[in-house]
Symmetry: C2
Subunit: 440 residues, 2 copies
């Protein structure tokens, strides 16, 4: 506890209230937390007209500012999108309770029993840009997992988010919960203050551009769940089935070019490059993809642009794909190790030994054989929700569901035991017997 | 991947070699990793004379420098201690394999199967002070868990650690492993370089003083496993059984005063304070403990020193205990929330409702009823080893065993599946069926 981190921020009183509210929420049984979500869904439905109107005002202001169509699409929250988001809140009710899970249940000695139990993190700080529907999704996940939430929305979405949080507060209050559980910040200055609240905020989830996520990572002592970049690769091995390789390459590049699980570089084994590259190029160019190749690739595909060294380290986020011919699996893994961001890496091969080596040796949150990198997603993994994708080495890693919003504590119940009994020359041995019924 | 983090350090070539060696180790089956440990244990035994002689030279130099007796005791590695440490290396062989554990096994659709499998972190950076036996312990845990290791030892222990690492290298080489798996750094300048190697080192484990751990936490982007302080509390509730409370208080304060799981403050319910405090004080003072009380405590124990506000925020690390009378459970929890370092907190009470509230509401890695805080330890928890104790909120938290040296990856094997099939208007649904035999 440094003097530094105890410095008061303008946001301290707000964060303390949220922390207090979260402490009570953490004690509520799952039925009560689900009742809060029901009540929030009802309030959102009741206040739909006001929410849509607030969003129309945001959209009108954005249109005046000459906002890009992509941002505009994310900002817009019409009745259809709002209703779908409310269904999303009710879907969270169906998820299993992430807290109170008994992970270890062990007798250390007669009458001295240890349990490791999952519990909420405390308070989450979520900073997002234009999409107002994120308010509903992240609020429901936070409440489900017993956490308080401090939201910071983008400038463009302030009216929409305020209307949404007003409805969430109404829902919480009606269900008998403290509305301080969910707070909304709206200014850039408050973002900086939020990042300093390491005494009160347990996890920051930034949702925005790569540079924004990197800024957050570099400017807080609070753990950050997220990833700054997603440079994913697809390696077409010499033993690839091209009827799989071509659709996978097209899907992995073009299904959603801006997504982090989209590939930026295609690696092709040199043995098959002369036949495989023209087929791959035809399919990709037909989908509007610009290819940039290394010297060997350009030797086979003379009409494409040459790749520069920067290309291998670039997340395009659009329909551009760099292509490199590699001499073997090791060269492919070398390339991925050097340039990959440990997000998701895929191989197409029918050789099981090669596949096994790729899946073992490649260091990434996701390592795939014979399927698209685009499957890297919490919903597709069956987590029911996704709170973020982490490219960090330590867990939680990859697509993170509700599991990422909880931690655990060790609860020990004794009958007067002291450590001195179990140490020294006539130390009593521990029994260390796992209690078999972990489901109690 | 920032330009920043790609800057070359003098240690880069060394770290790259360790990373490469670790990548091979990660592929070795448990029998081979255990064989490496056997060979290391044998080599340490064979080179015992050289190791003990090197340690004697370190001890002689330390004696000349007028080293404190506590440091001297930690530095000393005689034949008895060395033999015990070699037994420790062989004990690690008996631990379960932490890598390759199948954590999730799920069919997303027919022919598209996802596994979440535990895997090594990669390279560990361990910075420790005087104790040379840490070299053997941490090297064996690193190899068991498939990780490379860069060790940095304290100035006083350089000769001892070099002799130990020479033996470890001999053992690795003889078993057919790359000796670059374990590297030893010896200068302070190298510590600073090590902290910058976020491209090559996945976890830093600092072992040293609180201020040193805090320094490490503030000067690296690499995740740090450890804790800067351990301010633990014991709360004696009004429903306490004093025949338990007194030995627990004595054990929790005096069993090992310098340990992080030792209590620094005793909180006593005001209803029982007039009778309980004199008994507690007698027992503690008999063990040489200096008490410092708040006004109410001093009213009951007029001969003790008054506590200042700084006392509540101080980890004494010696036989001093601050004592405060609290009005009820909530006041005790308030005090712990404000001053505790989320390490280990205990209550003595026979009231199960009070205990349940304490165990739920207190935010700490360990929350105990009716036993000493001194049980917070990886060996006592039955983990077989302890790599550190974390007071961070995110897992791994509390005493951390081999589990803290591994992460996981998602391995997906398909038969040509693409994401487009599962999205849009006629999206194919996922099956999301957990494969029941998780032990395969």
């Amino acid at each position: 506890m440094t003097a530094d981190s105890k410095l008061d921020s303008k946001l301290t009183p707000l964060a303390q209230k949220t922390r207090l509210a979260a402490r009570s929420l953490a004690l509520e049984p799952i039925a009560r937390r689900n009742a809060a979500l029901e009540s929030i869904a009802d309030a959102l439905l009741e206040q739909s007209a006001a929410i849509v109107a607030a969003n129309q005002a945001d959209c009108a202001a954005a249109a005046e500012d000459g906002t890009s169509s992509a941002l505009f699409a994310r900002l817009k929250l019409d009745e259809t999108k709002l209703k779908a988001a409310i269904v999303g809140v009710r879907d969270v009710i169906k998820l299993a309770d992430p807290i109170g899970e008994l992970q270890i249940h062990r007798e250390l000695d007669a009458g001295l029993v240890m349990k490791r139990v999952s519990c909420p993190l405390g308070v989450l700080g979520v900073i997002f840009e234009a999409r107002p529907d994120a308010v509903m999704q992240i609020s429901s996940l936070a409440i489900k997992s017993g956490n308080g939430l401090i939201l910071k929305c983008g400038r463009e979405a302030v009216r929409s988010c305020q209307a949404l949080v007003t409805a969430i507060h109404a829902g919480l209050t009606r269900a008998g919960f403290d509305p301080n559980l969910v707070q909304l910040l709206t200014t850039r200055e408050e973002t900086m203050e939020l990042l300093k609240l390491d005494q009160y905020v347990d996890l920051i989830i930034p949702r925005g551009s790569n540079s924004f996520v990197q800024f957050v990572q570099n400017n807080t002592r609070i753990p950050v769940l997220g990833h700054a970049d997603g440079i994913c690769h697809l390696y077409i091995d010499e033993a690839a089935d091209m009827t799989k390789a071509i659709p996978i390459a097209v899907d992995a590049k073009t299904h959603y070019p801006a997504a982090c699980n989209t590939i930026e570089t295609l690696l092709v084994h040199e043995t098959i490059a002369p036949t495989a590259l023209p087929q791959l190029a035809d399919a990709l160019i037909a989908k509007g993809v610009e290819l940039r190749g290394d010297a060997k690739t350009c030797g086979i595909l003379p009409n494409i642009k040459p790749a520069t060294p920067e290309d291998w380290a670039t997340e395009y986020g659009e329909l551009i794909l760099s292509v490199r011919v590699v001499s073997d699996l090791s060269a492919a893994i070398e390339h991925i190790t050097r340039y990959g961001s440990r997000h998701t890496e895929a191989i197409v091969t029918e050789n099981e030994k090669t596949a096994a080596q790729f899946l073992s040796e490649v260091d990434a949150a996701g390592v795939y054989q014979n399927c698209s990198t685009r499957f890297a997603d919490g919903f597709r993994y069956g987590f029911g929700a996704e709170v973020g994708i982490s490219t960090q080495k330590m867990p939680p890693r990859g697509p993170v569901g509700l599991e990422g919003l909880v931690t655990y504590k060790y609860q020990m119940v004794g009958t007067g035991q002291i450590a001195a009994t179990y140490s020294g020359n006539d130390a009593k041995p521990f029994t260390h017997r796992d209690v078999s019924d972990l489901s109690e």
